[in-house]
């Protein structure tokens, strides 16, 4: 899928730009240290990556790739779980370094492989290896990219999880040899750099020359991805408000993982193309015509069944209705036209959305959300101009001072000019006209608005006394207007601008589900996505055991009120019985209850001897079911009382 590729590229671009920066600093640092050899400090980069641990793997992989391409072939990635002791760490380190040496020139492959087993895992062998690699001048083709003596970069992926002792020992050892072996450490830190001081005593941390690098925060990362992928017309598939909301909620509430967000998005793509039969039409504009022409009769019927299309048909004159519902050819033409409309709508939607964001993001209290994604969601949800927040936005916009208004308008013009939409010529002209009018006003009004401007500055800064300031400002405004009796030219113009923006918004920011055929390009089923991404194992297990019909679909299990059917699988019966018990369950009572339920059918014609003696088969079935429950983690054997088991879950009754 091309979208995925693009996503990854986008992600990588972000990373590489960051890495380039950090890498250049490395270079600077190591050269600096080369001349300052008298000190024994190891240059160290502390890379603060944020808590989204799932993303780190990719980051480190690309980091090592970049380093290998640009700085040094000797990069080792170490993970805490591989290094419980200093010995394992050294083994891992040597293995990785020598292997990457093998990759550089494959002629000596077997020689290195055989000697590897016998190699002593110590720093001295590492140093001799390093010397032998750097001294041999044969492989000039690689060294042109690297420097004369490339540093050895050791990356600790998860600093927090390393044991203190291992790290300390390693740092002490390598500081002994920093002259022979130009080592650079990279610490991947998830929480805060304070952890370095927490992990290492002063005597050890004084051996390091730590420099801090902060990676892009994951929230910013997400906004760029949303900005580049979702808020463009480049990709035909769009997400509806609810789906986007689910994805963003998972991101914000649960894991902060951009990786998972992308995976969720990919899942959306797959779901959409899999479940929606009309998704064939969800493609780039050039192909649409071809695909529409090749639509079969069935597919046309599918289109006719779409609710948005039905609505469209109902609003047409009756002869057209009939034509749409009966002739496929006419339908295809209309669909073509409608899809073009939809495309134009998108082309207009995004630039206008960005313009609106320019306004809302600079207003105090962010009436429509600070991030453009919030604004996007609000616009998708329903008619944005009907919401209260929009009202407050307009009110605030009417109070903007001139400077801000002018800069905002300029930004809007920029956005609109750079956008591909064709309908903006008039809008741009209108905005430019406003701008020139403002410029004309310059001389007259600049002075009179200075005090107000100061007030507004205050207004932006003060966040807690927001309402208070608001009142003061409105009062001031009122007083001023009363004094001058009529609105100044500037105020008139300001009203005009705001009204114009309002009209533009009303014109272009119609929510997508009011558009015909939006089902084709919008992925809508948020519930499916939630089920897949936000799994609830406990709940699923409970429903499976409590209501086996849900999964087994056997008619016999259908009639489940609250009683326990004996046709259910044994484990379900046992589970239901155990829900009625307290923390400790008596096994004998449980068994008796179980056998009563199981033999309930034969109840009427009861045999006297079998009632007090439990059948061996039933006994065996019971034991099996109970051990299955134990395997699932619902109960465990208890030592407090004999013949009892303890429940491990609560709140069943």
């Amino acid at each position: 899928n091309q979208i995925e590729e693009d996503l990854n590229k986008q992600l990588f671009d972000n990373l590489v730009s960051f890495l380039r920066r950090s890498h250049s600093e490395f270079q600077e640092k190591t050269t600096e240290w080369n001349c300052q050899m008298k000190s024994r400090e190891i240059p160290t980069a502390a890379l603060v990556l944020g808590v989204n641990v799932t993303d780190h793997d990719l980051t480190f992989r690309s980091l090592s790739e970049v380093l290998q391409n640009r700085v040094t072939p000797y990069v080792a990635l170490l993970q805490a779980k591989d290094c419980p002791g200093i010995k394992n760490l050294m083994q891992k380190l040597l293995g990785q370094l020598m292997n990457c040496y093998v990759d550089v020139d494959s002629e000596e492959d077997d020689y290195v492989q055989t000697s590897q087993n016998r190699i002593r895992c110590s720093m001295t062998s590492l140093i001799t290896w390093y010397e032998s690699v750097t001294k041999t001048p044969s492989k000039k083709r690689t060294s042109s990219r690297h420097w004369q003596s490339p540093p050895v970069v050791v990356i600790f992926k998860d600093m927090e999880s390393f044991t203190t002792k291992v790290l300390q020992d390693f740092i002490v050892i390598s500081s002994q040899h920093i002259h022979e072996l130009p080592l650079v450490l990279v610490f991947g830190i998830a929480t805060s750099p304070m952890i370095i001081h927490g992990l290492l005593p002063h005597s050890v941390s004084s051996l390091l020359c730590i420099e801090l690098f902060q990676s892009l925060s994951c929230k910013e990362h997400l906004s760029t991805i949303i900005d580049k992928v979702l808020l463009t017309t480049q990709f035909p598939l769009k997400l509806s408000e609810k789906v986007l909301q689910v994805l963003i909620n998972i991101f914000l509430y649960h894991d902060f993982s951009v990786q998972n967000f992308i995976k969720g998005f990919q899942l959306c793509i797959v779901e959409h193309f899999y479940t929606q039969p009309l998704s064939v039409l969800c493609c780039h504009q050039e192909e649409v015509k071809k695909r529409i022409n090749s639509l079969s009769h069935n597919q046309c019927e599918n289109i006719r069944r779409l609710p948005s299309f039905r609505r469209y048909v109902e609003n047409q004159p009756s002869e057209k209705q009939i034509a749409l519902l009966t002739t496929d050819g006419f339908l295809k033409e209309t669909v073509q036209q409608l899809l073009d409309d939809l495309n134009v709508y998108h082309e207009n939607y995004f630039p206008v959305l960005r313009c609106l964001h320019v306004f809302t993001s600079s207003l105090p209290k962010y009436p429509l959300g600070k991030q453009i994604r919030e604004l996007h969601c609000a616009c998708l949800e329903n008619r944005v101009w009907e919401t209260e927040e929009y009202e407050s936005f307009l009110q605030l916009a009417r109070m903007l001072n001139k400077c801000d208004l002018v800069t905002m308008l300029q930004k809007c013009v920029e956005i609109l000019v750079s956008s591909p939409g064709k309908e903006f010529d008039k809008t741009v002209e209108k905005l430019k006209e406003f701008l020139t009018q403002f410029q004309k006003l310059e001389g007259g009004c600049a002075l009179s608005y200075v005090p107000l401007q100061i007030k507004l500055k205050l207004f932006y800064n003060g966040t807690n006394g927001y309402h208070f300031l608001w009142y003061i400002l409105t009062l001031l405004e009122l007083k001023e207007s009363r004094r001058s009796k009529k609105l100044t030219k500037f105020e008139m113009l300001r009203f005009e601008v705001v009204d114009y923006i309002d009209s533009v918004v009303r014109n272009y920011l119609v929510p997508a589900d009011h558009k015909t055929l939006h089902e084709i390009v919008y992925f809508n089923t948020a519930s499916v996505l939630r089920e897949h991404l936000n799994a609830a194992p406990r709940v699923a297990l409970h429903t499976a055991l409590n209501n086996p019909y849900c999964y087994l679909k056997s008619q016999a299990l259908r009639s489940d009120g609250g009683s326990i059917s004996n046709k259910a699988p044994d484990i379900c019966i046992v589970y239901k019985l155990h829900l009625e018990c307290g923390r400790l369950i008596n096994l004998v009572d449980w068994l008796e209850a179980f056998s009563t339920v199981v033999t309930a059918v034969e109840g009427p014609n009861a045999d006297a001897p079998s009632s007090d003696q439990v059948d061996d088969v039933i006994h065996a079935r019971f034991i099996r079911a109970v051990s299955e429950l134990e395997l699932l983690g619902f109960i465990k054997p208890s030592k407090q009382k004999t013949d009892h088991v303890a429940r491990l879950t609560w709140g069943g009754c």
């Binding site: 502390a46 641990v53 983690g633």
Partner: protein
């Protein structure tokens, strides 16, 4: 006045040695008298201890090198297993005379092998007539190796029947080494800390050639005046001296003051050194950053130290999980009812406080709590309904890997894992503030 006198060595060498090891004359002469002449048998093992950077390693190295005594020098941290250690000693021994030819690698797994190979090596190197020295730096690591290594090294002379002396260097006292089974007692020698005078003398020794010694010693004087209170580590002081010297010279370079104008120079450097104490010394910012900072004066405030980035961003539910964990760790179990039940009316506050133990829970530290309690508290503090999804559970484990929570006791996952919250009150208050949760209201200690 030659302090060091020894008949076996020429006086010129001794004089040179003395100049190399300032302020350690008495220790050196003591060592020399123990070592005796080259062919004489020396004490089997010597244990030297003293605080960090009191010159143990340096003195031993210069002593053995200047007198050209046969020796090997091994760091026990670097060679972390006994096998590596023993092999390293043998390799160094073999490479002593024949530098060029690569010695064949001999595996040496046990001490028995070592003794045998060592004897062979001594003979092959022609060292039977001289005392051979093995110096083990950071000898405290020996205690973590096999039980036989330390006692065997102590009586190596006896085991090999060769003229060999083992010198152990350590930062801790001999009493902490003594194994249960008893062993040969080494000769112990204490290296005392350098006094302020000593430090001054040593630091002044390597003054840069372009400035006079007096000028540099005045600088060292100021430096010690600032740093001596917090740091007596010679290495660290050397490092600081090197870093800040260029700043000290600045007025001289610009021609505003001459080299004698100490008062002016002091005025210039003192606030600078104070700042260095707060930043570089604590490794809040690295030394290279510090140097860059000196070059472009203006933006001094720009660089933030490591601890300035203490803020941690967490997902929404992780914050609540952490808060719930904190509450579970610091509140007694029986108070949960009062804090998290809507109608807890029956427990009167006074009655409730009577049972109150005088000690604060925050002084006692966090207590472990079961997973179920954590989730129960989480459900009651989060406003909207939280489904017990897999994401919530995985967040708990990721909090454990971030070392914000820690798992306690048995690691049986099915058996109801127990956790502890390891973050500080300040941290949790900062977290709680971001989600508008008044944590103080829920803490038993602050009732």
């Amino acid at each position: 006045m030659p302090n060091l006198e020894h008949s076996a060595y020429p006086a010129a060498t001794l004089l040179h040695l003395e100049s190399l090891v300032p302020c350690r004359e008495s220790q050196v002469s003591m060592l020399l008298s123990i070592f005796g002449e080259r062919q004489q048998l020396s004490f089997p093992s010597i244990f030297i201890y003293g605080h960090t950077s009191s010159g143990k390693t340096y003195v031993m190295q210069t002593l053995l090198n200047t007198l050209q005594l046969p020796h090997v020098f091994v760091n026990c941290v670097e060679h972390f297993t006994s096998r590596l250690l023993l092999e390293e000693i043998l390799i160094q021994l073999q490479n002593r005379s024949s530098e060029t030819e690569e010695a064949a690698h001999v595996p040496c797994d046990t001490f028995n092998d070592f003794v045998r190979l060592f004897k062979q090596a001594i003979v092959s190197q022609g060292l039977q007539d001289e005392t051979f020295y093995i110096v083990l730096d950071r000898a405290e690591q020996l205690r973590e190796m096999e039980a036989n290594v330390l006692p065997a090294f102590l009586r190596l002379q006896e085991l090999t029947a060769r003229n060999v002396t083992v010198v152990l260097l350590s930062e801790i006292v001999w009493e902490l080494f003594r194994p249960n089974t008893g062993c040969f007692e080494p000769f112990t020698l204490y290296f005392p800390d350098y006094s302020i005078g000593h430090l001054q003398k040593i630091l002044c020794q390597n003054h840069p050639p372009e400035y006079s010694a007096d000028f540099y010693s005045a600088y060292i004087n100021i430096l010690l005046g600032v740093f001596y209170m917090v740091c007596r580590d010679l290495k660290e002081l050397q490092h600081l001296a090197a870093l800040n010297f260029s700043k000290y010279c600045e007025p001289v370079v610009r021609g505003e003051a001459n080299e004698r104008d100490t008062r002016k120079l002091w005025k210039n450097i003192e606030p600078h050194l104070k700042k260095a104490m707060q930043t570089v010394y604590l490794r809040e910012i690295s030394s290279s950053q510090w140097e860059r900072l000196q070059h472009d004066e203006g933006e001094a405030g720009q660089l933030k130290g490591l601890s300035a980035h203490a803020h941690v961003e967490l997902p929404y539910y992780s914050k609540f999980l952490l808060i719930a964990a904190y509450l579970a760790s610091y509140n007694p179990v029986r108070t949960d009812k009062r804090f998290f039940l809507k109608h807890h009316g029956k427990i009167k506050k006074t009655n409730f406080m009577k049972k109150h133990e005088k000690t604060s829970n925050h002084l006692l530290g966090p207590k472990p709590f079961p997973l179920d309690r954590l989730l129960a508290i989480l459900y009651s503090i989060v406003d909207n309904r939280v489904a017990p999804t897999a994401n919530i559970f995985s967040q708990i484990t990721s909090l454990v890997t971030l070392q914000l929570l820690s798992m306690v006791g048995n690691n049986d996952q099915l058996d109801g894992p127990r956790y502890k919250c390891t973050v500080s009150l300040d941290f949790i208050r900062a977290i709680a503030r971001t989600v508008n949760f008044d944590i103080i209201k829920y803490l038993y200690d602050f009732l």
